[in-house]
């Protein structure tokens, strides 16, 4: 029963002083929220990343062999009992030409639905070798459907690896291999990988894979945990044993195969050589034969010619004979005619003689007859002769005919011989053609053979150069995203140590003052209860319950709110750098217990201390009013010249303000904390937002960065240079991603080889080399390097120290630091050409030009440069700066969170204290009202001290905030960025304005309460 009425009393107490109860509740909630929120953030982040990586089958080990890995290697890996899964994968850096004609270096990975699964965010999965998924962080959604062309400028072995040379983007994705924005370095192009592409396995036209990804049972352990690290150490050892052996075996096999092949080929070459030699001989024989044939033909021809001559002679003879015969015949005919004539004459003569005989003497007749006889004889002789002649002629004719026949035969024979000869000639020609063909064939064969020999020699050389394989067993910590996340997720943890202490301190103070006031108010009641015989424990129980329940409710509420809000907001800010997924909300039991314990200790402890003091007094004493605290002069009154100048109310306020030291201290602490938080919040933004502007205005003085296609000689850039003749200036550098190694500590940075200064321009016209203190640093000489101070600090280096710059091919450049420069974004090392040439043995490829534009419109100017010959890509500094700026926008959330906390802090502390102040001074305020103070005057009378304390709080907060800001910025140690740690003047002003605004709001809220104070209070007796 006793307890029942006490409980009623307690509940009523809470109802009646809800404001006070809520104040304790809220400040505890704030403290616990801060503590739990900041403490749980790392855990939540790590768990989120852990789930993300596990869900997507992130690899545990990546096995690499320089001779490639084969299906049987995968099988061998799977043999290990700790291996859950193993899969061959290919990756290669390639230069692709984007639709806008710019060349970019991208990393191609094979698609897998087992290890390192990608998360498709848009579009669909690639199905055929000429389709790909693109990097969601880099490629805008509009680019789905566009084509990327694998540039011809890629290395031959790269081109050989790939089946299709045109890839169509069919979707966008995230990959667990790229948790953060870093895409890594490459030996191609400008040394930076722009993004990744995921292609089907078939796109790689190889019988081997470049790597094997392994998932082990260690992946069941939390990432970054000791269990995981230990297990991975063991597993790495296992593969470091196996892999080299397998690789060596494979090497031997490949070597033997290749050697066999080469030997076989040589064999073939020798055979071919023999064949060729035979063929050569044959050709020579053929040629000889041909030559013989030719001779024969020539002989034949001559013979024919001789024969023809004979025939011609024969014909001529025949003709002569014919002529002779004709002449003979003619003569014969003439002879015959003569004979005829002679006969006729004879006849005439006979007739005449017969006629005359009559007239003539016989002598005359005889003479005539004799004559006639003679003539007849003559004719007969002539006829005989003629007959002989005729016989002779006939004979001649017969002979001629015979000769003619003979000649005709000869001619026929000749024709036949001629035809035969023609055939021979034809055959000869054919033989010749054949021979020529054979010769051509031979020379082709010889050429082929020579080629084959050369090839074979190359192959031989290659085989000789075929080095023993290197193998690598790489863990997750070689993945940039994974490694960076471990660091980055620890950032908040550092901050998490200082804030909660402060908030708990404030919470304890608030509880103490509040409970103190409450107990003072209820002195009489306590006295009465004591007098009634309630035990001390019971009486105390009421107050302890009051404070404790407020603390527990507040603590629970704060715990959940903090566990949700802080990770959510911080995660949002991290999304600048990390592409993971919405954060997991974690409820950490230990943390809950711990924070509740602290909260309860703060409130109940503070209550107990206060109560304990009161409890020592006797009941009777308690029932008497406590003597009011004596008015005191404040220190300021001793400084006459200030005090005298204060108005009356000013003096009153001063004295009131300093009257209660504890409350004053609390107020200053609360308001100071509020102001400190505000300027920290604004300062974080100032420090981070400005980074880009500073980088692009103070450090990188160029407007555009132009990257040329690989190995474009300097004298082949006329078009580019001509464009800049009147419109700007340019400076060539060679930029490459390198590892800076300082005695084992390694950081990745961009090495820039500055070309030698020419007339009118040098490296420092384009990049400002100046130390943190603002002193100019001279350009680096031979063997020297200028580093940005941040990376040097991280490597533990200072001016004069040496380090090694190592490129992706493991070539090294040793340098001595000649200066540490001011720089804000990314890490850099600047060296000169001599340094590079000496270490690398060749001139640097000046693949990059820094360009200053005279025009304001750098974008269209950049586009113009992009169209110039050999220009692979163009990036405008302003664009980069803007992009980073817009990413920084998400920091507003953190600033908002900080403002919210600051406001909560200010409200709780100010409201609570002012509330206490008012209840304590109820009488005084009522009296003032009775005295005729207008409500405004009353409010000012009461609140003026708040304003004074707020002002003092701001001053205190200035120091707190300055320190806090530095502390926070120091703890946010991001590798790629050096913050320009500062708080800008407007931030101080905003902080003051907001703090006063909060104070004003509290005062306004409480002035309602002031209004409600009844003047009759002034008539009551002192309790």
């Amino acid at each position: 029963m006793v307890k029942k009425s006490l409980r009623k009393n307690t509940v009523r107490e809470i109802k009646n002083s809800l404001g006070r109860y809520l104040a304790i509740l809220a400040i505890v909630a704030l403290g616990v929220g801060f503590f739990a929120g900041l403490k749980v953030t790392r855990q939540a982040m790590v768990e989120t990343a852990d789930d993300y990586l596990r869900d997507n089958g992130f690899f545990d080990l990546r096995l690499i062999s320089t001779i490639g890995l084969y299906e049987e290697d995968v099988e061998a890996v799977k043999q290990q009992d700790f291996v859950l899964d193993a899969e061959g994968a290919c990756s290669v850096d390639v230069i692709v030409t984007a639709p806008d004609d710019s060349d970019q270096v991208v990393k191609l990975h094979t698609y897998s639905d087992r290890i390192n699964q990608v998360i498709l965010t848009r579009g669909r999965l690639p199905e055929v070798p000429n389709e790909c998924l693109a990097d969601e962080d880099v490629v805008p959604p509009e680019m789905i459907g566009s084509k990327l062309i694998i540039a011809d400028s890629n290395k031959e072995e790269t081109l050989e690896m790939l089946k299709e040379k045109e890839l169509t983007i069919v979707g966008l994705c995230q990959s667990p291999l790229y948790m953060n924005f870093e895409r890594g370095g490459t030996t191609l192009g400008n040394g930076k990988i722009a993004g990744f592409l995921i292609v089907p396995k078939e796109e790689f036209d190889t019988d081997y894979t470049t790597e094997i990804y392994v998932r082990t049972d260690a992946s069941n352990s939390r990432i970054y945990s000791k269990a995981y690290k230990d297990a991975m150490e063991d597993y790495t050892d296992v593969f470091e044993e196996i892999l080299p052996v397998r690789a060596k075996e494979k090497y031997d096999e490949l070597y033997a195969d290749a050697k066999q092949e080469i030997d076989d080929a040589w064999e073939e070459v020798y055979d071919a050589q023999a064949d060729i030699d035979d063929a050569k001989e044959k050709i020579e024989d053929g040629e000889q034969e041909l030559r013989d044939h030719e001779q024969e033909i020539a002989d034949g021809e001559k013979e024919i010619a001789d024969h023809e001559q004979d025939i011609a002679d024969g014909e001529k003879e025949i003709k002569e004979h014919e002529q002779e015969i004709k002449d003979g015949e003619k003569e014969l005919a003439e002879g015959e005619k003569q004979i005829e004539d002679a006969k006729a004459q004879l006849q005439e003569a006979q007739q005449q003689a017969a006629l005359m005989a009559a007239f003539m003497t016989p002598e005359q007749l005889s003479a005539g007859a004799a004559q006639l006889e003679e003539t007849r004889q003559q004719i007969e002789a002539a006829e005989l002769e003629l007959t002989q002649q005729r016989a002779k002629l006939e004979k001649g004719k017969r002979e001629l005919t015979k000769a003619r026949r003979e000649l005709a035969d000869g001619k026929e024979q000749l024709e036949e011989a001629k035809a035969e000869l023609e055939d021979g000639k034809q055959k000869l020609e054919d033989g010749k053609t054949e021979l020529t063909d054979a010769k051509a064939e031979l020379s082709d064969g010889e050429k082929e053979l020579a080629d084959a020999t050369v090839k074979l020699e190359d192959a031989q050389k290659e085989l000789d150069d075929f080095e023993e394989p290197d193998t690598y067993v790489l863990g997750r910590n070689t993945n940039i995203g994974y490694a960076c996340f471990e660091n980055d997720s620890a950032i908040v943890e550092g901050i998490g140590n200082v804030f909660p202490v402060f908030f708990f301190l404030v919470a304890a103070l608030v509880c103490m003052t509040t409970m103190n006031r409450m107990i003072e108010e209820q002195r009489t009641q306590i006295g009465v209860m004591k007098a009634l015989g309630y035990s001390e424990a019971l009486i105390m129980g009421k107050y302890l319950f009051y404070a404790g329940s407020a603390a527990i409710i507040g603590g629970v509420a704060g715990f959940f709110a903090g566990s949700y809000l802080f990770p959510a907001v911080i995660w949002e800010a991290y999304s600048i750098m990390y592409t993971i997924r919405p954060i997991n909300f974690v409820v950490n039991g230990t943390l809950a217990a711990l924070s509740l314990l602290v909260a309860v200790l703060c409130s109940v402890g503070a209550t107990y201390v206060t109560l304990d003091r009161e409890m020592k007094e006797q009941a009777a004493e308690l029932m008497r009013p406590k003597a009011p605290a004596t008015g005191k002069r404040v220190f300021l009154e001793k400084i006459g010249f200030i005090w005298k100048r204060l108005s009356f109310t000013g003096k009153v306020s001063m004295r009131n303000a300093f009257r209660y030291k504890k409350r004053m201290f609390m107020m200053i602490l609360g308001v100071g904390g509020c102001y400190g938080l505000l300027i920290t919040g604004f300062g974080i933004k100032d420090s981070i937002t400005d980074v880009c502007d500073r980088q692009f205005e103070d450090v990188q003085k160029y407007d555009v960065t132009v990257t040329f296609a690989d190995d474009t000689p300097l004298n082949d850039r006329q078009e580019f240079e001509a464009l800049l003749k009147n419109e700007g200036d340019y400076f060539y550098v060679s930029s490459k991603s390198m590892d800076a190694d300082a005695k084992g500590k390694v950081k990745s940075l961009t090495m820039v080889v500055l070309s030698d200064p020419e007339e009118g321009k040098a490296g420092d016209d384009f990049i400002r080399f100046c130390s943190e203190k603002g002193e100019e640093i001279p350009l680096p000489g031979k063997g020297e390097a200028i580093l940005n101070s941040k990376v040097a600090r991280n490597l533990g280096l200072s001016v004069g120290d040496t380090l090694i710059l190592r490129d992706p091919d493991l070539k090294e450049i040793p340098v001595r630091i000649s200066g540490l420069m001011r720089n804000y974004v990314f890490n850099w090392a600047y060296i000169n050409e001599d340094t590079y040439r000496e270490a690398m043995g060749e001139a640097p490829d000046y693949n990059t030009a820094y360009v200053k534009a005279d025009t304001e419109d750098v974008y269209s100017f950049g586009a113009k440069l992009g169209n110039a010959e050999h220009v692979a890509s163009v990036s405008v500094s302003d664009e980069l700066s803007k992009r980073i700026d817009s990413m920084m926008e998400s920091l507003n959330q953190i600033v908002l969170l900080v403002i919210f906390c600051a406001a909560a802090l200010a409200f709780i502390v100010m409201y609570n204290l002012t509330n206490i102040n008012i209840t304590e001074r109820l009488r005084e305020i009522a009296t003032l009202k009775v005295l005729g103070f207008y409500s405004g005057e009353t409010a000012i009378y009461v609140f003026r001290e708040n304003i004074i304390l707020t002002a003092l709080g701001c001053i205190a907060g200035l120091f707190m905030g300055y320190g806090l800001h530095r502390y926070v910025m120091y703890n946010i140690n991001v590798d790629a960025v050096s913050f320009d740690v500062k708080i800008l003047p407007p931030s101080y002003l905003y902080g003051v304005a907001l703090t006063f605004l909060f104070a004003l709001i509290v005062d306004l809220a409480l002035s309602v309460k002031l209004e409600k104070i009844k003047m009759a209070e002034s008539l009551k007796s002192v309790e």
């Binding site: 008015g631 009356f648 009296t927 003032l928 009775v930 005295l931 005729g932 409500s935 007796s1021």
Partner: protein, 234 residues
């Protein structure tokens, strides 16, 4: 000539939930200027309500209150505050001094808001606290504190001095001293002084005695021969 103060059928009813409490059920009285008036009654009779209404600290439910020709019962909150500020000087039973201010400052607290205040130091000197001016209330005795309170009321140079059981928290002799101071003030400055008390003995020193009972004015007596406080014994 109109009376300096007049109460006409003044009623005050407090509503608390469903219960109506009649604090004043139609009070009628007048007080002339320069009078030393004592309102007397048992506790709960309604004298504090009269004080509250007359002091401009509370509104009445019905009726009319006129002070120096002004109908204060018709005043709004702001006007009532001005009325308290310029016309009324208040002396409380528990002095109600601001603990954090010295005696002088307590007086100044009131005088600084007035149109025509008296010099704080002078007033304090007049109430006999010249030497203690710079002491804090906690360093003063009860009587001294009440003197500071009276000084604070006087320094405002009000038309009317309202005193609520000014001796209630004081011992006999000190109480007498304080009453004497009030009486002297009334005689010397011609201010109207109204003292509210349950102590019948004090009525002997008053010019006008208003007896209150159960929310009504029971009687109004005019005393033509007030007795100096020194001679009153209770």
């Amino acid at each position: 000539m109109n009376p300096f103060i007049s109460f006409e059928e003044v009623k005050k009813i407090y509503h608390t939930g469903e219960v109506d409490t009649v604090a004043l059920g139609g009070a009628d009285f007048t007080v002339e200027k320069g009078e030393f008036c004592v309102v007397v009654g048992a506790s709960g009779a309604g004298k504090t309500t009269i004080l509250n209404i007359l002091g401009g600290m509370d509104a009445l439910s019905s009726g009319k209150v006129v002070v120096d020709g002004e109908e204060i019962s018709a005043y709004n909150k702001r006007k009532l505050t001005s009325y308290r500020r310029y016309d009324v000087g208040f002396v409380f039973q528990f002095y109600n001094l601001v603990q954090n201010l010295t005696a002088l400052e307590n007086v100044e607290l009131a005088s600084q808001i007035c149109k025509d205040p008296l010099d704080a130091a002078t007033v304090l000197e007049e109430v006999g606290l010249k030497e203690r001016m710079n002491n804090f209330p906690a360093q003063l005795s009860g009587g001294e504190q009440q003197r500071v309170a009276i000084a604070r009321a006087l320094a405002k140079n009000p038309k009317l001095l309202l005193c609520d059981e000014p001796t209630g928290a004081l011992d006999y002799n000190t109480g007498k001293g304080v009453l004497k101071l009030l009486q002297d003030t009334c005689r010397n400055t011609g201010k109207t002084v109204i003292v509210i008390t349950h102590n019948q003995a004090i009525t002997q020193m008053a010019d006008r005695i208003i007896s209150v009972r159960s929310g009504k004015v029971e009687s109004i007596e005019l005393n033509d021969t007030p007795i100096p406080i020194e001679k009153i014994i209770w």
